[in-house]
Symmetry: C2
Subunit: 204 residues, 2 copies
């Protein structure tokens, strides 16, 4: 394991650049990708060539690190999904593309995803990182559906529900992967689009 050379204590000399928040997050991400989701703050600091207090100074506690990584992950995943959906007309097909993009990205960000979602020291930590996605998704839901008249109240509930659904399916799929992301996306889309009622619906 190649550890970056540690600095001397004390203020760095004039020319030396100091680490910043961004660099720390990038280091954390690199380490997690390489070593898996069970890395300590100390290891993260070491990966950046600094020590724990620096992480606290620039970012904050572990929760803040998780938050920061979650944000990057969210943004990247949002970007992928947005690109996948772009130009797709049929809404069901759009959902399929969205989910498929989500799952495909998940495979490459696997460790990062596990770190971010698996790090719940207290309790309501998993939610904190779902909040951003949820509000965004809720907006989208209101937009595309109008939500049957007057109730955007249900949109936020739906958003959390959908995110939870994707999350759990993701964890399960990452653990015992027994199908391709394309297959899984297809299956999830069916549930999301037509619901448990199925294709039949009101036709009878």
């Amino acid at each position: 394991m190649v550890v970056a050379a540690r600095r001397r204590p004390g203020r760095p000399r004039a020319g030396e650049v100091s680490v910043d928040r961004l660099e720390l997050l990038a280091s954390a991400e690199r380490l997690i990708r390489r070593e898996g989701p069970r890395v300590s703050l100390e290891a993260i600091a070491a990966e950046a060539g600094v020590t724990k207090p620096i992480v606290y100074h620039h970012i904050g506690g572990k929760d803040a690190v998780v938050q920061g990584l979650a944000r990057r992950l969210n943004d990247r995943q949002g970007e992928v999904s947005r690109r996948a959906v772009a130009g797709v007309e049929d809404p069901a097909e759009a959902i399929r593309a969205f989910v498929d993009g989500y799952l495909e990205q998940l495979e490459t960000d696997r460790n990062l995803y596990l770190y971010v979602t698996g790090a719940s020291p207290g309790s309501g930590d998993v939610l904190a990182l779902a909040d951003r996605s949820a509000t965004g998704l809720a907006r989208l839901l209101v937009e595309i559906r109008g939500h049957d008249g007057n109730a955007p109240a249900s949109a936020i509930a739906w958003a959390y529900g959908i995110i939870g659904m994707l999350h759990f399916v993701s964890l399960w799929w990452l653990r015992d992967a027994d199908r391709t992301h394309a297959e899984l996306a297809e299956q999830l889309t069916e549930l999301l689009w037509t619901g448990l009622r199925g294709e039949g619906g009101d036709r009878t």
Copy 2:
């Protein structure tokens, strides 16, 4: 805080009853209900009037305790939901009753639920306790839907998805409760039953 009198070290005298697995779990549940989801194993042991190693002897590590409590919680919640659904003909109404029962039970088991779901030391722990529910639900899905021909493969994915959905919505609802469980059940049922497609569906 009334702490049960600790025993003397050594084998208990002839008449004295010894704690068993069931009693330990009951104590843990009682403590969590009273003190919230952030209780240590040591506190759980103390609540039962014993010490940590006893918990390890009778149950196992923390994971085992969580598992045990999760099982009780699952069973109770399953019971409530089963009773709520009994005799309901309309499938959509059955779903609504199921979800409503789930949410109502959640309010009384709040702390326990948070303890069980929030305790993820490593990573894939949340899944472990979802597994039982998921396989059961998957069976149910295959049963009531036949799953459109030949694919029970998607049933398990749907099951994890639905459980994840309920889970996330539950966490969110427990945190910022802004509606009644009846309202939320109604909204979730709409999503689960008709899907994002909505009532319209194939009618056009």
